[in-house]
Every structure is written in C-alpha cells, then in structure tokens.
C-alpha cells in the first residue's frame, strides 16, 4: 500500500465486510462489496449506504462570511435561507475550476459550511485562505473531525425514520438540512446526494459516524462503494471533478453555467465566465451513445467518419440502469450539437455513435 495513505473512520468496517479496497483521493476506499451492479441496483430500487467521510468539511464564519463566500463561489449565497444548501464552483480568474462544492447556510447567522471534494481539500483551503484578505472571516477546516455517510435510494427516508429514528427526515426538503444530535454530538441531516435518487447525507463526529454505519449495516442496508457511486452519478448527468471539471474545464465547458450567477456584482472568474458564455468555448462536454455493448472509457478518442480526432471520452460505462453504452466526452464545439454523428475508437475497432442529452437517467429527487 502507498505510504501515508489516509483511512476514513469506517476503514475497519470495510475490510471486515470484505470490500475490494483501492486508493482514491489519498484515502484507501471501498470500491465495491457485493459488486458494482448489485449495489447500483440497490440504490436505484431500495436503499444503499456510502462512506463519504473522505469529503472535506470547511466551516466559514464571521461578519463578512456571506460577502466572502459570494466572492469565491459562483452561485449566489444571498439567495439561500438558513438550513439551505447551494451547489456551485470555486474558479480561477481564467474560469478554470478550482473545485465544485456545496455550501450550507447554517441556522446560526454568519455561519456556513462548505463541503468539498476529498482530492481537493488542501488545495481548496489554501485557495480560500489566499482569497480571504480584507474579509473578516474565519476559515476552519474540520475535515478530520467529521465523518459522513450518504444514505441514498427510494427507501432512504424510511430508513432514516425507522433504523436511525430520525423521524423528522420527511420534513427536510431537497437541498435543505436539519440540525440534530447523535450521542450528544452535532448531527447535520442533509437531503443531498450524488446518485440521482432521493437521499440524505449525515455529518457527525467519528464515533457517531461509526455508530450510524453499524446500525444501518445491521438493519440490512446495502453497503455501497465508490464503484457504484461513479456509475450512479454518471447516469444522473453529474460531473466528477478531475473528469468533467478541472482547471482546464470551466463550468461553461461542462454545461454547468446555470450555477454561475452573472447577476452578482463579482466573483473570482466572473469576467472569464461572462466572456465564455457570450463567445462560446472551443470545447464542450457532451453525452455520446454508441450503438453496441462495447464500453467507451475515459481517454478513448472521439473521431469523425474520416478518422479525424475531435475529442476524448471523460467517463463512460455500459449503463446499468439503462442498458446502453454511453459516455461523457470533451469534444470540439463544432461537433457538440445533439444528434451529431461521432465515432468512438475502442481498442482496434471504431463504433458509430451520436451526441445525446447528458442527463441519461431521469432523476428522482423529492422536490
């Protein structure tokens, strides 16, 4: 095993359950337990639980907190009410993406929680501190003190109420959260997720996270690894930082400009995003379907009929829920329109395909 690899507070549980483990974002994480397909289907049809304790929790507070967040965050935090979460990005001045994240407005005035990707915690905190000059804010990275589990699927609400006795779960709206307690520690019950299904993310301390996980597993909730987390988010058309968002891939390129609020006075990257929206970008992230069971995978070339390369696959699967071979790809803008015929080269063969809508799977959020 790679040196200095980090373990989440549930690591020993994954090993005991016989999970296939692999390094991800500096953590030794479970990729699958019973199998990606079985876990994927559990989330789509019943309920599954994920260890997402590797994610970063950064608390931002102070008299200038709202103004500061609007400076570094593309969405407009002023539109959020206490107990509400917003999705958006932090950008470099050129519009490239530092990270995508969720920012919660806490019930306590001037208090916010930013939840960031595990792979980016250090980079994000550096970026936040670097851009905090002149703002009266406190930036407190508590990632190592918090655990997080995601309970996802049509039976998630019932599972919270019955197994965890969180009987207020039905009252929590989509992208909202409620405060709770777990063995005396703070518990955040958030109706969010990364699967395209209804579900919750529970944030609490290490001991509480272990206790919640153990209760869910004992009650028969399917443990789910990062393998199906990726197939689920992919089908729902959700980007993964590093694949569909990066310093080179702006939210406009990724088709996520609705999360960049250009009516705000300013935010880092605003001018670049405004220009990209006005002029278009040289490349776009699109969905492509090929009409074969072969699987377009990240890095495979996207080609025209004459073999000219016009793009590259960023994520691809034979979709478990749709039984279709589909992918996200970064392609030249001229070939990004729906219905455009594009080929994908898979090893020695070329498979004909077509640009389709990126939201492959109809999501089932409780609005």
């Amino acid at each position: 095993m790679e040196e200095n690899i980090k373990l989440t507070c549930l690591h020993d549980r994954h090993v005991a359950l016989g999970a296939k483990m692999s390094p991800f974002a500096g953590f030794d994480m479970p990729i699958q337990y019973s199998g990606i397909t079985e876990e994927h289907i559990a989330v789509r049809t019943k309920v599954g639980v994920f260890d997402v304790s590797h994610m970063g929790e950064v608390f931002i507070s102070g008299p200038d907190a709202e103004k500061y967040i609007n400076h570094i965050f593309t969405n407009d935090i002023r539109t959020s009410k206490p107990g509400q979460a917003l999705y958006g990005m932090m950008l470099y001045p050129d519009g490239g993406t530092v990270d995508d994240l969720i920012v919660y407005r806490e019930f306590e005035p001037d208090h916010f929680l930013a939840v960031v990707n595990a792979s980016n915690i250090e980079k994000d905190v550096d970026w936040m501190l670097k851009n905090a000059k002149g703002f009266d804010v406190k930036i407190d990275n508590q990632s190592e003190k918090w655990g997080q589990v995601a309970i996802q699927g049509p039976e998630a609400e019932k599972t919270l109420a019955q197994v965890l006795k969180l009987t207020n779960a039905p009252e929590i709206g989509f992208y909202k959260y409620a405060e709770g307690k777990w063995n005396g520690a703070r518990l955040i019950i958030s109706r969010t997720g990364y699967t395209g299904e209804d579900g919750f993310e529970l944030y609490t301390d290490i001991k509480g996270t272990q206790d919640i996980w153990d209760r869910l597993i004992k009650a028969g909730v399917t443990p789910c690894g990062l393998g199906c987390r990726d197939t689920l988010r992919f089908e729902a058309g959700l980007p993964l930082y590093g694949d569909e968002l990066s310093p080179e891939i702006s939210p406009v390129v990724a088709g996520l400009s609705m999360f960049c609020k250009l009516d705000k006075d300013e935010f880092i990257g605003k001018e670049a995003i405004a220009a990209q929206k006005a002029d278009g970008t040289p490349k776009k992230i699109v969905g492509i379907e090929i009409f074969d069971r072969a699987i377009p995978r990240a890095g495979y070339p996207v080609e025209l009929e004459d073999g000219t390369e016009v793009g590259v696959v960023t994520t691809g699967y034979h979709s478990i829920s749709l039984d279709r071979s589909i992918c996200f790809a970064l392609v030249d803008k001229a070939y990004s329109a729906l219905g455009t015929k594009l080929n994908i080269r898979i090893r020695k063969k070329v498979f004909p395909g077509e640009v389709i809508k990126k939201r492959f799977y109809q999501t089932n959020y409780k609005k």
Binding site: Q32, T37, H40, G227, R293, I295, R297, H318, R347, K349
Partner: protein, 125 residues
C-alpha cells in the same frame, strides 16, 4: 480462493488452454474473472482472424475496467463463443466452461511455454 482446473495449460496473463488435437480452446481463469468482477462485455475477434501468441485478441469488460485478452498460441480463429455476446456473465459463473475462442494452432510447440495447473497456482494468488 480461486479455482484452478487440472489438465489445462495456463498463460501468465491468466488465459487457459485446453488442447483438442490441433485446436486450442481458450478462456480465462477463475482468478481472472474474480479479479474483474461482473463481466458485462466480451470483445472477441471474428472467425477466420489470425491471432499471434502474446498479442491481444480481444478484451473483457467489467462495469469499472477493461482487461485485454492475450492469445497463448498463434493460429487461426475457427470458432468464437457467440453465447458470450448476450451472456458475458457465463464467464463469472464458470470460467472453465465459458470458453472464448477456438484456435487452429500453427505451431503446437508454443504450448511448451505455458504453465501447468501447479505452476499457475503460484501466480494466481
């Protein structure tokens, strides 16, 4: 612990060979299928294609990854297991029953480079 069938020959890249006269029946080992997880697609050559010892002739795809198949012998593909087109999971169910291709060998001496079950057991762990 994966199963290793006796009486077959194995390559270091986890293919097995069953010799039937001058025909090599080729599949992947139980160890290989277990490493792959649920197999969702088998990329196979066409009948009549030539394959070279050590060169890839296709691939196994699981949900998460693809893994190339390397031919343990040289020769001409005389049959592909078309059942795998619709039921790739047969390899997960019984890797030694779910053969992938049959090759008419051009050089049977190549078989000498392959491993017996006992020698392969040292690799497949």
């Amino acid at each position: 612990m994966s199963k290793i069938a006796e009486g077959l020959l194995y390559s270091e890249s986890h293919e097995w060979v069953k010799v039937e006269g001058n025909i090599a029946v080729i599949g992947v080992s139980d160890f290989a299928q277990a490493e792959m997880g649920d197999i969702t697609y088998v990329d196979m050559p066409d009948e009549g294609d030539e394959v070279e010892k050590g060169e890839d002739f296709g691939a196994l795809e699981s949900v998460k990854a693809s893994s190339e198949l390397y031919s343990p012998v040289s020769g001409k593909v005389v049959e592909v297991n078309s059942e795998l087109e619709d039921a790739p999971e047969l390899i997960n169910e019984d890797a030694y029953a779910a053969w992938i291709i049959k090759v008419e060998m051009s050089d049977e001496a190549e078989l000498e480079d392959l491993l017996d079950a006992k020698a392969y057991a040292e690799i497949a762990k």
